[in-house]
Amino acid sequence: MSVPAAARGTGDFGKATAMTDSVLAGEVPLAYTAAPGSGTPVLLVHGFGSDFAMNWERTGWVRALADRPVIGCDLRGHGRSGKPHDPAAYTPEAMVADLVRLLDAVGAERVDVVGYSMGARLAWELALAHPGRVRRAVLGGFGPADAFAGADLDRLGADEGSPFGPVFRAGAALPGADLAALEACARGQAAHPFRPDPAPRGVPLLFAAGDRDDLAQGAAVLAARTGGTLARVPGRDHRTAVAAQAMKRAAAQFLAAGDETPGGRAAHGGSPGADGAARTA
């Protein structure tokens, strides 16, 4: 996908690329990116087995959010960050602490957070534990069901039966994947199953998922219980919904609604929702 830097035109896309080429030192080093800019930053939290580039850059999210400062990292165990092999290093608390450490390091007081899959669970936990740091949250490819239900945590590479099996194998097949770290991450997360109670307070939530996403089952129920918004992407599953325009548009509109300032970013083209972003199938 080489896009030459020449002929950049209007310069509107100057922020459309981001790489986790900075490192936050610590017991587990965190590779991150933080683009400067005005307005509420967006923290992007990728899913299991993926990384910032694959989850957000290649899928067009960074382009779609180019009018905002984007912050993101490779989660521990992933991408270019540290990869401990101890499941205890991968509790939701430890991973949320990484996110807070990142926000502190880049001076982001309050952000919108967008997470996909395991990243959505972490976004929920971030909003729950630190409601003052999160303005709005988009939870993509996520539902209240235990993502690891039925998964054979001792033989993940051979897990054919559970919805998590394909997610693990896709991550394990990527160049640079550290299998021991991914297994430890799966076990650390699975040891602390998601609980819908208590829910984050005072943080508007958008649940966005493909309507064929096995791992997002129950998203509608969770949206209803939390007073959240629901967006379904027709015809997409867990792996393919993340790249869908409908999901990016729904998220951008949802986050733009948090901009209260007069003359702020209205959804271009007027009537939000009229372009099918939130088609409720």
Binding site: M1, V3, S50, T59, R236, R239, A243
Partner: protein, 116 residues
């Protein structure tokens, strides 16, 4: 599979997606023949066995032809889309062919869908 791009157009081929994979499946086109598209605008969504991706337009121009329909498997390096380019010659590095400036902007490209 014939690479019968119009003489004045420019054909963009499926880039290497960097996963060591040799093909991708078209999930959804974000443009249709006749659409005007700017460089870097979202062009097409594809999936591989490992992930999904959005490919941005490498050029500013009018979409003349899509070479694969949604659901089709496309090999890396195979024709993906043909544009009629706009702007000054040389505005899009790596793309051969530009529309002569003195020619009216009428389309003369077959708009039949890919036969697959």
């Amino acid at each position: 599979m014939s690479d019968d791009a119009p003489a004045r157009g420019s054909t963009f081929h499926l880039p290497d997606l960097g996963e060591g994979l040799v093909e991708a499946t078209v999930l959804e086109w974000l443009v249709a023949p006749g659409d005007r598209i700017a460089r870097n605008d979202p062009l097409v969504e594809v999936e591989t066995t490992k992930s999904a991706a959005e490919i941005p337009s490498p050029a500013t121009g009018v979409v003349a032809r899509l070479h694969a329909e949604a659901g089709a498997v496309v090999a890396v390096g195979a024709p993906l889309v043909t544009f009629e380019l706009e702007g000054e010659p040389g505005a899009a590095p790596g793309i051969v062919g530009t529309v002569p400036a003195d020619e009216p902007a009428r389309r003369r490209v077959r708009l039949r869908p890919p036969q697959e």
